[in-house]
Symmetry: C2
Subunit: 203 residues, 2 copies
């Protein structure tokens, strides 16, 4: 159990390491770079991260996973009207447009070996929480009558989440934002009560 001060020091190291890694890439940053940037001694660093770089990278991945959700707030936690869903959509598009191929979390997990249980736990918890927010948002639209009452909230949330991750995967690979915009529009239009059916455009 860390003291408050210890927790603050640990967080300072993580935040500093995350910023360095965002700028220079995982492989371009050494422990010495991180120590210099965060004014930390070697013994301090190993006090908070006994396994050294692998421990620290895992903590940075956890920090970046938090950031994925934080970047979508306050919209993601309050998807209680169609307008708020639209605002969330704008935020998501903006964020991925700015980030393009440079997703800090993918860059990290590519280095961390996704099959490692600790890494997989971070990612699985991220997607679980993201999915729960979306599912609550669909439920809110059902409650307010903006979506049909017999919509399956969890399935709809999955369709929206995969539209984002699939669109982001294609953006990273092709540098084209169109896939993400279209996939998100298609998934969201499925939520609307009285909406024209998904994937249908009237001329």
């Amino acid at each position: 159990m860390l003291t408050t001060r210890g927790a603050a020091t640990r967080q300072r190291i993580i935040t500093g390491a995350a910023a360095l890694i965002r700028d220079h890439g995982v492989t371009g940053v050494s422990l010495d770079d991180i120590r210099a940037a965060t004014s930390t001694s070697k013994s301090q660093l190993f006090h908070y991260f006994p396994q050294g770089k692998s421990d620290l990278l895992l903590a940075v991945a956890e920090h970046e996973a938090e950031q994925v959700l934080a970047d979508q707030q306050p919209m993601l936690g309050d998807l209680t009207s169609w307008q708020k869903w639209q605002d969330w959509r704008e935020r998501v598009i903006e964020k991925y447009d700015a980030q393009r191929a440079g997703c800090p979390l993918s860059a990290l997990t590519a280095q961390l070996d996704v099959a490692r249980p600790a890494t997989q736990g971070i990612i699985t918890r991220l997607y679980d929480r993201w999915h729960a927010h979306l599912s609550e948002g669909v439920q809110a639209l059902k409650d307010s009558g903006e979506a049909e009452a017999d919509l399956d909230s969890d399935a709809a949330a999955t369709a929206i989440l995969t539209a984002v991750t699939g669109g982001a995967t294609l953006l990273q690979a092709t540098d084209s934002l169109t896939y993400l915009e279209t996939s998100l529009d298609q998934a969201l239009s499925a939520l609307r009560r009285d909406a024209t059916p998904v994937a249908r455009v009237r001329g």
Copy 2:
């Protein structure tokens, strides 16, 4: 321009390298391993791949990109009825279920630097061709009356493609197949004429 025999030798090296890399990972395979497995001399290898490993890895990535589409054939090239779409869906689920986190193409592109134009070209062409097949399939359903005539084929194809890539991304990250199954069902149900709207399940 390679002779027929030269092209066959080059292809033999690529196929052998791809198999080794599938088994041992990109970083676990050296040029010497590839020479031994394919009975190739050093001069032969550099004749076909002047830049050595980076050239060869690019050729293997191109081969694996072909494989992504080949694994979905003959269904993907002939999505002319609802039944054929269902058969394609089964194939996709089966393939990703078998492969889990071990997507050979992602493993390669993670090593190849996706920002490099040659790598990005391979991936962009893959997604373009994949999208074209899906779009033709949606058009075929429209022509036969199994889908509404005013469906936007390209947008529907994008929704289906991102459902696959998004579902596969979540499968790789979480080892759960449910996301892919649900996202694909949701995207496909949007195609059906007279289908219940997407993301809606009747109890």
